[in-house]
């Protein structure tokens, strides 16, 4: 089972399909319009359940980040997911449309990433037919 597969369910499936099709899609509440992230069957604002999946621009800003210099935890392979080399970064990205999400910035060396960096989404084929959302600097 791929690391992604266990995140896919009836609610989240459109997100993963979007990545395969090269689009970052976020739920928009069908009732109040709130951009619902993290993914949920319920709007935390108005408690309405229905939502539409809206394509984001993919543009965003690095709000903060860290670099892991060790794989932390016993079950390294499982916990580190698609991070295979040290050091690796984990970044909080603020999308142009508002939501903040956790991802990673690709193709940047330790010391070269900075808060405020403008980035855009990329959709990396990670095998078994799945794609993973990452970001690269503009």
């Amino acid at each position: 089972m791929s690391a992604i597969e266990k995140h896919v369910d009836d609610v989240s499936e459109p997100y993963w399909t979007g990545l395969k099709e090269g689009e970052l899609r976020i739920q928009r509440c069908a009732s109040c319009g709130y951009l619902r992230h993290p993914i949920s069957w319920l709007c935390p604002e108005c408690l309405h359940e229905d939502s539409e999946w809206i394509a984001m621009s993919g543009r965003g800003t690095v709000e903060t980040f860290v670099w892991y210099f060790e794989f932390i935890g016993a079950a390294v392979g499982e916990l580190a997911g698609y991070q295979k080399e040290l050091p690796y970064n984990v970044a909080a990205i603020r999308l142009e449309e508002g939501p903040r999400l956790i991802s990673t910035v690709r193709d940047v060396a330790f010391g070269d990433l900075s808060v405020g960096a403008a980035v855009h989404a990329v959709f990396d084929d990670v095998g078994d037919g799945w794609s993973l959302l990452r970001f690269v600097e503009n």
Binding site: V66, G81, V90
Partner: protein
């Protein structure tokens, strides 16, 4: 703010007990029994008086259950309970609620753990995102410090000063886990673990136990020691993590500050001693600023001035805190404040300490709490 969060003479700590922190040969229950017996003796409380037992069992599985502990020590209380985000300040606060409402008269709060295979490891061993390798609770202060550095120009010397100060404090505490000398150069020479943090910025698991007897002020006044009163509490939960403004910078602390100071009719400058739940050095910076001990972005200068040192204007964690004293998820801080306010802290005593404050962030920055204690 009125009386919201004020205890108004309704709850106090009568007795405390704690074991040495570090490596032990026995399990958490046995350690907890030792601390429990010490707390009963310390407070002049008989086991038969206890009608509430609260414990904690961390999400990493360490800790003790409340029913099992009650059975072990032969108590049939009215109320038992165990918190899963079990930092000590939350547990003692719930005990104070039980006592203040009259549901219970004497509540034993007890915690012990000795995960012998994991001593020295990082606590908070869980996964925030398994896809991106976003692991361990220590990642939260790390991302917070990156954001802070970008916003205010914080430096790693600030964190180093905090680690060194706490180590100096631990060296005055015979029960502390980490007492080897530590200099700023030593700190800066250690490698990054989760940049911008080093292992010395992050509390590591120790074995040990704590017991705190919470009761009415009236009962505490008939105890063996001077009562330590619960003055006021403040709380905030932030389950909507990434949607919370200032989430990584722990800005929700300022809501807690408003509550706890409003209820107590006090401000940060009135505190004599401060116990910060320092799962990381970053928690110290965030607490100092968000509670108003110094201004926003000013913690670096404040710490460098020696303000938080043992002889400073607001000594922080005189027992060495969780970084050097021992990591019992907030429990040791309650004991240290009681000992400081009673004037029993020996070599590490903060002179003239009458009012003390505990501040914590728990889990992945979802749980915020503060309690102000005052000697009766």
């Amino acid at each position: 703010m009125g009386d919201q969060g004020s205890f108004r003479d309704r709850a106090a700590i009568a007795g405390v007990g704690s074991t040495r922190q570090g490596v032990h040969e026995v399990d958490g229950f046995r350690l907890a029994v030792d601390a429990f017996k010490d707390a009963l003796e310390d407070g002049g409380i008989d086991k038969s008086e206890i009608d509430g037992v609260l414990t904690a069992k961390q999400f990493d599985g360490t800790g003790i259950g409340s029913l099992e502990f009650s059975q072990l020590v032969g108590i049939s209380p009215r109320v038992t309970g165990a918190l899963d985000y079990g930092t000590g300040g939350f547990t003692t606060q719930y005990a104070a609620f039980l006592v203040a409402t009259g549901v219970c008269e004497v509540v034993a709060c007890v915690y012990g753990r000795n995960p012998s295979a994991h001593i020295g490891e990082l606590s908070g061993a869980h996964v925030i995102s398994d896809l991106y390798g976003y692991t361990n609770a220590a990642a939260l202060p790390a991302v917070g410090w990156t954001e802070y550095m970008a916003k205010y120009g914080g430096t790693e010397e600030t964190l180093g000063h905090i680690a060194v100060t706490e180590r100096e404090n631990a060296r005055r505490n015979p029960k502390a886990a980490h007492r080897d000398p530590l200099t700023l150069d030593d700190y800066l020479a250690t490698p990054y673990l989760i940049w911008p943090l080093r292992l010395l910025d992050i509390a590591t698991i120790t074995g040990g136990a704590v017991a705190v007897i919470v009761t009415t002020l009236e009962r505490a006044r008939r105890g063996a020691k001077k009562a330590v009163r619960f003055e006021a509490v403040g709380r905030q939960q932030t389950p909507r993590r990434l949607e919370t403004d200032g989430y990584f910078l722990s800005h929700p602390m300022s809501s807690v500050a408003d509550q706890v100071y409003g209820a107590a009719g006090l401000e940060a400058g009135d505190m004599d001693v401060l116990a910060i739940s320092d799962a990381s050095t970053v928690a110290v910076v965030q607490t100092l600023e968000n509670y108003g001990f110094c201004g926003e972005g000013e913690a670096g200068d404040f710490v460098a001035s020696g303000a938080i040192d043992h002889g400073g204007s607001i000594p922080v964690n005189p027992d060495g805190g969780q970084l050097s004293g021992g990591y019992l998820v907030g429990w040791l801080h309650q004991v240290e404040l009681v000992r400081q306010l009673r004037g029993e802290a020996e070599e590490r005593q903060v002179s003239g300490a009458e009012v003390g404050q505990y501040c914590t962030t728990g889990g992945n920055r979802e749980h915020y709490l503060s309690t102000i204690y005052r000697i009766d």
